[in-house]
Amino acid sequence: MSVPLTLAITKLAGALSRGLGRGGGFALPGLIAEKLDPNLSGKLAAGLSGGVIVVTGTNGKTTTTRLIAEMLEANGIAVVTNSTGSNLKRGITSALIAAADRRGRMKATVGLFEVDEASLRLVAPQVKPKHIVVTNLFRDQLDRYGELDTTATLIGEGIVATQAELYLNADDPLVASLAKYAKRPDDVHYFGIEGAPVNAVGVHQTAIDSDRCPVCRTRLVFSRVFYGHVGHYKCPKGDFARPKPEVVITNVEEADPNGSRFVLAISGKRTTYTFSLPGTYNLYNALAAVSAGQGLGVPPNLMERTLASTQAAFGRVERVEIEGRTLCLLLIKNPAGFAQVLQTFVIGRAEVRAMFVINDLPADGRDVSWLWDVPIEALAGYKSVIYTAGIRGADMALRLHYAGVESMAADSVEAGIGALVAATPVGGTAYILPTYTAMLEVRKLLGRRTVMQGMSR
């Protein structure tokens, strides 16, 4: 089938789906295109003069993609991205279809896509990325991929299908080990942290995801751990060790729930950055973005400006004002992310007001076992008002109960929001921690009570 005909059909399907107000219609054009012309994404991507950049990894894909997009746009480059859609192959195809005119000519010069870890091997041979960023690898939705080592191998299969420059997290051993899939050693660029506060709340010591040498399986020795299994490591037996990163945060001067100030060095040249997103995990997102920005030739002053002014991505640290109270939405997806969110926002408040909304739909991960790998015990002993809701709210309540934290079950997510607002004094802040599909529901409900960014979509 010719490209213009496929485009006409898929664009029409997308328009119809949006016209009918059907949710989830965003991936539909891509889904249909896969049937009509499985190579469509490759054909369209070939028209992007600036090539394709891909961001993958467990946590931080969306935020990193957004930071890179903002840097490129600040540099006057038109970007096509899947930031509001699906990160599976069909989502990338949909984004490309939307950015193509009727004849298949691209309205953008660069494609920037966040890609699901297991989908990279399907996406990469098509869109032939010139740059691949890998953020980190944590346990996430294991019911889909099997195991963490499998995920790394799947990403490797994607990398070998390209000639891409790689931007890898030097502090995550499994991610750093992906360098072996590069075409040439010169294609590999590492980013990492030299100095940062070490978090008190880790995932259970025993639930560290990946602390074995990817080469010989010996347990790595860590001289520093920033969170989870991310830090400075070395194999006591062989040569495998943390590679020296080119892009480095040498020192965090200040950090609070609103952001941080740090010194970042690019190939030894130091600059102080202010950054509007909080938490150690976001420092890594900033590093990933700067590392890629460096490779893409973004001038350093534009990178600085982007980090200083960026807003959190959809549902990641989103603040909503309701009746004089601030509700803070914090997406939770896996034990490492959950622990980071607890550490950054919740622990240490005089009074903790929070609601956990846990769903187990495919996009959340159908297995809720991971809740037991989260160090919820850190909440015990604080004065707290805690609600649970969602399809698996009862599992969360049970987890809290065994951690010595009492909670109340909300009859519905809507009732829970109401109760949380009522329990929060005017001028106070409460936290909502939802899984992915729960976050969509929470945003929809909040959208009825207040104006939210991006709700018109």
């Binding site: 019911d143 080592d149 159908r366 809720v368 009862a394 049970l398």
Partner: protein, 240 residues
């Protein structure tokens, strides 16, 4: 002085996937709520360990890559663990260690990981991953609910008791409709979830056997399991 129960946690660093730590948390809390002090002692690869003090043994599942080093180390501890099982020490092994508590595991790659024969079972690696919610009907603990995620298929020798019959899900293998194994007071299962928080009868069985052996027969003080049952009910209603 409160009475103490020692829980031995096998290979927590290697074998701790899918929230298996929740089983330890559950055992500890349910002991504490009844006035016992729970001592958790972990056994890591290569570590010297004296199993004499063990009142209860737990081992979870792990990534395939970790299983071979664990198998080698476990083999050396086989005689001690077998003796404990025969002596009536309650045990719970999940997924990876359930497999290695049998005769062995033949992987898809043709590797043979020998087991320690607590259960008369043999596991063969399969190509299909058995993933989903699972419900098992048991004789001693009623209906158990969990989440399974494995590609190994475990076959029971003649005479080896299973933990129960599969009501929903796969269980030991795609065909037999049987799940887990039980020998004396040692229980092996594929159920994560983790299994114990939502199945307090199984948790209390293990605790009761441990207490009984250490401090003599007696009833366990009942606990209010309303939350446990509520979570189990929701989990049971989820699609496979």
């Amino acid at each position: 002085m409160s009475r103490e129960i020692t829980i031995v946690h096998l290979y927590p660093r290697e074998m701790n996937i899918y929230g298996d730590m929740g089983n330890i948390i559950t055992l500890v809390r349910r002991l504490e709520w009844r006035g016992y002090r729970a001592q958790v002692r972990s056994v890591e690869i290569g570590e010297k360990f004296d199993f004499d003090a063990a009142d209860l043994v737990f081992g979870g599942g792990g990534q395939d890559s970790g299983q071979q080093v664990v198998a080698e180390d476990l083999l050396k501890r086989g005689p001690a663990l077998r003796a404990l099982a025969v002596a009536g020490v309650p045990m719970l092994t999940i997924c990876g260690l359930y497999q290695l508590f049998g005769h062995g595991f033949k992987t898809v790659q043709g590797e043979n990981l020998p087991g320690i024969d607590v259960f008369n079972t043999t596991t063969i690696g399969g190509k299909v991953r058995m993933i989903g919610n699972i419900i098992v009907e048991t004789k001693d603990f009623g209906r158990l609910v969990g989440f399974e995620n494995h590609s190994g298929q475990t076959l029971l020798d003649d005479g080896q008791e299973s933990l129960g019959r599969v009501v929903k899900g796969y269980g030991n293998d795609p065909k037999s409709r049987r799940e887990g194994a039980m020998s004396n007071f040692a229980v092996g299962t594929y159920m994560h979830g983790p299994v114990l928080p939502k199945n307090p009868r199984l948790a209390d069985f293990l605790i009761a056997k441990a207490v009984e052996r250490r401090y003599g027969a007696g009833e366990l003080e009942p606990l209010d399991d309303t939350m446990e049952q509520a979570a189990a009910k929701v989990a049971s209603g989820r699609p496979q």
